[in-house]
Amino acid sequence: MQSATAHAHETLGHDSHGDHAHHHDVSFIRKYVFSTDHKVIAKQFMLASLFFLFVGGLFALLIRWQLAFPGEAIPLIGNILPDTWVSDGAVTANFYTQLLTLHGTVMIFYVIIPLAVGMFGNFCIPLMIGTDDMALPRLNMYSFWLVPPAGLIMLTGFFFDSGAAAAGWTGYPPLGPSSGAGQTTWLISLFLIGFSSIMGATNYMATILNKRAKGLEMFQMPLTIWALFITAILIVLGTPVLAAAISMQLADQYLHTSFFMPDNLLIGAPDNSLLTGSFVQKGNELLEHKQLLGGGGQPILWQHLFWFYSHPAVYIMILPGMGIVSDVLATFARKPLYGYKAMIFAIMAIGFLGFIVWGHHMFQSGMNPLLGTTFMLSTIVIAVPSAIKIFNWLGTIWRGNIRFTSANMNALAFIATFIIGGLSGVFMASAPVDIYIHDTYFIVAHIHYVLFGGALFAIFSGIYYWFPKMYGKMLNESLGRKHFYWSFIFFNLTFYPMHLLGVGGHMRRIYNPYIYEFLQQYQPLNQFITVAAIILGFSQFILIFNILWSLKYGKKAPRNPWQANSLEWAAPAHPGHGNFDTDIQVYRGPYEFSHPDRETDFYPQWEKPKDEPQGDEKAVPETKEHSQSA
């Protein structure tokens, strides 16, 4: 076993595969499939979620095609899709509703959350706190292996006669429970993925609290870890509420309870054919079902329960990204993160306030408008910590020495789009302004600026940043830049005009907007958006190609390719099971870049101070002061 000092000078270019790492003889299945190694699980999350990213992206493009060219055959695939989905090659209204439902659900629950939390949580936490693995590796494995079956269960809905879930990603009752088997698969799928989230989050908290390397204090952890820690708390507090709400909706659907169903509803039997208008023929069944549903339930109760989870879920999706961006920016600006503690307190504030703003999704829901005033004020307050973060990021690049790697460009793009997404959020935070723009494309624009422009650009940034440590190969920078430019330009061309449509009054989730006279004039704009969206979608193949190409032909990664400070870069270039080949002792915070007393512009957390005698732990408090002067 090497000593900590011997390790310090071999930070670059040493690819010893961790002699100290455990070399079990494990079967292929245990090593690559049912592995308990956090890095393998992270890669599994990445592969599964990138698969779902393309599934959800395909749904989006089908939706966009219909909005731009309603009733016209989908190019290439229109005529090979089954008749239950398309008629004359064009998407049917019923299929369109399923597509918009599953686009939202897949992107949120199977792409952004597993990438931001599952992938980066698993990969970064043990490495960045300097430990060998998660506290509960087996639980970790279970948390991944719930994801593929959960996702596939939901997608099976497309092969039912009545189709997949079609009540929107919000699944509002009475529409939700009164629709068919597709909705059931949707509910079961979310229930399972919720379990996966809770298992992962419990594990993250246990690991961060118990397994930090020697000398690593909470306030010396990188922002990524802080963000994931707060995210894990949000998941553990919020997800059980969603699970409860899902159980109640399942009970309403099958056990004839009435949590969400008022009495005397004129809803037909749970059969999607009803929703397409064959109501008349179903007269007798209709009455029968009406009696079954009699109950005195409250549809708005679902909305409260759903948004009590799903608003914090927005922060579950964006907080890890904020952490990643903080680390990437500091590393490539070669500057300490501006206001380290203020950044952490801002994350905590967002996490706390995130639980008391859910009602802003319900301003027009029929909830008591007095609550609207309350939720408007709390929502407006949550803009403050977000603003603090923006200013601190700007402070971080101020007087830096910024390197424009693909990772950093995506991080800067995150800031740029998050500013727009944050500002458009202020519109809908103001309850009276929300009256008009609620449920229009303005909301669609906002959520995509925050979740695509925000979360996904941060995820791209993280992928470019940590790929060398994941696979021991560098990603190709020139392809990375191409992917960035195409994505950034066409992202904005796709989603910015949606604000304009929203102000024009264009509703969300409508199959054919041109039924309305006041929307007919917007068809050219919708076509413009669709063309941009198609290019945006296809640009993502550059990323996939880059990953595949670099795995085969990529430059071998050195141990610390970005000359960063945090602990993952102390591990071998392609760490094996057990991660580190040295004992990790932490001496300072993660952002000691461009320290005036040093020749190099970085000062890794694990590097022993020169003038201190070996093994003297008193060195810690003194260096700590630098990192905490914020």
């Binding site: 049917t92 209204a93 509002y172 009752p173 009475p174 529409l175 009164s178 008022p262 005397n264 509803l265 004129l266 208008g277 008349v280 007269g283 009455l287 339930g297 409250q298 549809p299 600006a333 300490p336 993160l337 206001g339 829901s365 029929g366 408008p369 408007m376 004020l377 803009a383 603003a387 700007l394 402070g395 101020w398 007087r399 020495n401 910024i402 424009f404 800067l412 500013i419 202020v426 519109f427 935070a429 103001s430 009256i435 008009y436 005009p497 304009l500 102000v503 009054g505 969300r508 989730r509 054919n512 006041f518 917007y522 413009f528 461009s594 320290h595 512009d601 630098h626 990192s627 002067s629």
Partner: protein, 292 residues
């Protein structure tokens, strides 16, 4: 399939505020100017932060031999950029609240000149309107009398209910046409009998979800005669897009003429099967067990 790029660009260059459809309600202007206020504040913040971001990216781009400034932050700066947005955003919240309470609080609904009931429905997708009839009084609503033939659940024992006027979609692709007078406070009691809908009048800046089991008060006062579209803004099934209705705002005289016409055409809601061709009426003939 045709894609007119130049037409798309015409739209893309226009200022966001020009996209609003014409406002024809009394409080709509107030809501629009609140939007404009937030918009101008956002544009200002956008230009300030983007100039800083772009300036820093250019000024502090990587140069060999330069070392970044070793600096961890400054508490005074943190306080400043915490307090400034707090005041700005709190200001937006406080300014907003009056418009919010005016348009939504039931205590602040002005005395109505006209009161109607509106219900969204999913069986064929559209809206139903109920006027109080010549006696000016609505019949009582009783939940257990709700049926496809009597969607409002008008009490068959209430004499005021006999003359209530119900306007439904004429069927086919033709949208329902409801009439209301201009320069009058209109109170809409909104509900639904199946799933959630959202009663959206783009030109009046009115939007309110219709919730089954609950009657919600919505009010507006139209300022200009004309023909305006009614839309549904809450996903209610695959026919959600097809819930278009028309709201005709008449002068007071025209409105009275229209009402009289309707009263003459009116077939009592509570008597046996209506021979109308609409989807709802068709259901009525199917459901013979309606308690009457």
């Amino acid at each position: 399939m045709s894609f007119d790029f130049s037409k798309a660009m015409e739209w893309a260059y226009k200022d966001m505020l020009t996209f609003f459809p014409e406002n024809v309600s009394t409080f709509g202007g107030e809501l629009d100017s609140l939007f404009a206020m937030v918009y101008y504040a956002s544009v200002a913040i956008f230009f300030i932060t983007y100039s800083i971001l772009i300036a820093f990216i250019i000024m502090y781009r990587h140069q060999e031999g330069r070392k970044a400034y070793y600096y961890h932050g400054n508490n005074l700066a943190e306080f400043t950029w915490t307090l400034l947005p707090t005041f700005l955003f709190a200001g937006i919240g406080l300014v907003s609240d009056d418009a919010w309470t005016k348009s939504k609080y039931s205590q602040r609904v002005p005395n109505p000149d006209v009161t109607i009931d509106v219900m969204g429905f999913q069986s064929g997708f559209g809206w139903q309107f109920r006027y109080p009839g010549p006696d000016g009084v609505f019949g009582n609503k009783v939940r257990n009398q709700i049926s496809s033939a009597n969607p409002f659940g008008i009490d068959s024992n209430d004499v005021h209910g006999k003359d209530d006027l119900v306007i439904i979609s004429p069927g086919g692709a033709r949208p329902v046409e409801a009439h209301l007078p201009i320069n009058k406070n209109v109170l809409v009691n909104l509900s639904s009998n199946d799933v959630l809908h959202s009663f959206f009048l783009p030109n009046f800046r009115v939007k309110q979800d219709a919730v089954p089991g609950q009657w919600i008060k919505v009010w507006f006062n139209g300022t200009k005669a004309g023909r305006y579209e009614i839309a549904c803004a809450e996903l209610c099934g695959s026919g959600h897009y097809n819930m278009r209705g028309l709201l005709i705002m008449d002068s007071h005289q025209d409105y009275d003429v229209w009402l009289d016409q309707q009263y003459k055409l009116q077939k009592p809601v509570l008597s046996a099967p209506v021979s109308d061709s609409s989807a709802v009426a068709a259901v009525a003939s199917d459901t013979t067990t309606t308690k009457n």
